[in-house]
């Protein structure tokens, strides 16, 4: 049975999705434009036996969700630009220690304090490389309220399945926008829980991976007395200065995402069969791209859209196929050109790539995309 239709904000849909996915711990710090996620988590979590904490700072929020996750609780924090910068060190900790958690970043204008209640897409590259060192990343980007619900669940599922931090990269428009949504019945929602060890505590090697490159994870307090560290460590979990151990660990962390790209990558495409021009965009801008496509199709121009839903890992294979078919790829972004670098890397030789960038902290309008395409054709 489907729930009744509701008018809901993106930030609200994120909390609904998190609760549906099994979130039972939230720790964070108030910051615009993500604050509603903290407020609603504070209201909802104790009602389902979960726990909410407003921490003393952004760093503490990130640290606390890692601690909570180690006890087995599905955990999330939410923030925006400045807070996302502050969380980076501990995001790296969650990566190397393989602690599942979800970090929501509702992007606003930056750098620094920037323009707090206005939208931007300035953290595309920070989501990929924000924490130091080579590390795996999964980052998902919704472009509607309903999709925010779905992707929050997906973020928890990926975090649990691959034992890695997952970033939900929203933007202020999607976070604050209200849309009519109908949420699915809980029975229709797929929930994934982390693998737990099926061996005895004596036999347990906390960082010995299975064939999927993901090690089973024991909850703290259940008799599996193991060590967790942000230092390079071997299968036992204890630090090692061995260069061979370091090489093996860092490659496995990266490969556990690489070998599952087909399961992780998702995108949406429209009118790509006959498209000569492809608009590649994400988040709130993808909505404008759709309108622009419809306007241009009305004028007889063969335009299609491609929307990466997983920004990281980027749906590389599919874009490469499309690049061989289209003549021009237009990449509108609310930054000075971040994801376009990836697009150029993937299909630079095959298609002409045109950037459309806006950093005035407002959405890119359909007419702007239409003008750009008419200009370059």
């Amino acid at each position: 049975m489907k729930s009744k239709v509701r008018l809901m904000q993106g930030n609200e849909a994120c909390v609904e999705g998190a609760i549906a996915a099994g979130m039972r711990f939230y720790a964070g710090y108030p910051i615009t434009p993500s604050t509603e996620i903290a407020e609603l988590s504070a209201e909802r979590l104790p009602l389902v036996g979960g726990r909410f904490m407003q921490m003393e700072d952004e760093i503490g929020g990130m640290a606390a969700i890692i601690g909570a996750s180690l006890t087995g609780a599905k955990s999330m924090t939410a923030t925006s630009g400045p807070g996302f910068s502050l969380k980076q060190e501990n995001i790296g900790y969650a990566s190397i220690a393989e602690v599942p958690c979800v970090i929501v970043n509702v992007q606003r204008g930056g750098p620094s304090t920037g323009m707090p209640t206005s939208p931007a897409q300035g953290e595309i590259m920070q989501a990929r490389w924000g924490t130091h060192g080579d590390h795996p990343v999964i980052a998902l980007t919704p472009s509607s309220v309903r999709e925010t619900f779905d992707l929050t669940i997906k973020a928890f599922n990926f975090a649990e399945k691959y034992r890695t931090p997952v970033i939900l990269l929203m933007d202020e428009v999607i976070g604050h926008m209200r849309e009519k949504v109908q949420l699915p019945d809980p029975s229709e929602i797929v929930i994934i829980d982390r693998k737990r060890p099926d061996c005895s505590s004596e036999e347990y090697l906390p960082y010995e991976a299975d064939n999927d490159l993901v090690p089973p994870m024991a909850d703290f307090g259940t008799g599996y007395r193991y060590h967790v560290t942000g230092l390079v460590h071997d299968e036992t979990g204890f630090p090692s200065n061995s260069t061979a151990v370091a090489d093996k660990l860092i490659r496995r962390l990266s490969n556990k995402i690489e070998i599952h790209r087909d399961e992780i990558e998702s995108w949406e495409e429209e009118n790509t069969e006959d498209a000569e021009v492809l608009i590649l965009s994400y988040g709130c801008v993808a909505r404008s791209s759709k309108s622009a496509m419809n306007i241009l199709r009305g004028r007889g121009i063969k335009v299609g859209t491609f929307r990466p839903i997983t920004i990281w890992p980027f749906p590389e294979k599919r874009l490469r196929e499309l690049a061989a078919k289209v003549k021009t790829i237009v990449v509108p972004e609310m930054n000075l050109g971040q994801l376009v670098l990836e697009v150029e890397r993937i299909c630079g030789c095959n298609a002409k790539i045109e950037k459309l960038n806006k950093v005035s902290c407002e959405i890119i309008y359909p007419e702007e995309i239409v003008s750009k395409i008419e200009e370059v054709l």
Partner: protein, 274 residues
Amino acid sequence: MPSVLVENYFRTEKLPQIWCPGCGHGIITRSIASAIEKSGIDKNKICIVSGIGCSSRAPGYLDFNTLHTTHGRALAFATGIKMAKPEIKVIVIMGDGDATAIGGNHLIHACRRNIGITAIVYNNSIYGMTGGQYSPTTPKYDKGTTAPYGNIDKAFDICKLAASAGATYVGRATAYHASLVTSLVQNAINNEGFSLIEAISMCPTYYGRKNKKGSAVSMMEWQKNSAINNEEFAKMSPEALEGKFLIGELKNSPEPEYTNEYQKIIDRLKKESQ
């Protein structure tokens, strides 16, 4: 042959530890293990958390769920563990720089919340792991590699800081007073709310050498001669107190514990919805 205590509570295969000869950290770590043994708590229900630095290597040698986190953040990680699973006894080991410089904000707020965590600060008055830089507890005018002409910062009194921020059990001991470390940590573990024990350690390698404090033995003699208890303190003149510091129980005033307070909200909401 390791003692029964070491056999039962240490990961003996990880020994010997990495600390320098003469370091006080091993004595303090053993004293903590002894307090845990005396408390009789199930090993599987204890979690030991640390940050970064010399002291923070201690959990790696202890046979519990152990978590070696990022610099200064041990209490914030520990807060997540305690809040998500309150039945776990959470013990946090930090150094002076870890707890009071980079982690100072987490420290005062953990105190303020009175969350059920036992924090033990190994205070050796220096950043040892990075090679002897001055810390927030380096005495004024003492030297460090980053204070070659003498440190002009005033030192923190960690116990006063914790007590005034809201910790409900506070005590101080030294590596010399090892059995006092044990009894204070035992009391701290029994306190439902937030406890802080400052364990004064010695770093002959960096702090001692930079400040001509002599061998580890003479640094322990200094601990023995400079530490006074509450009764002695009451009888001494201000002149006689110069250069002395208090050891023993400094605060013991239980108050409602944070995760219990949150549980009350959950229970109340459950009742209201029925």
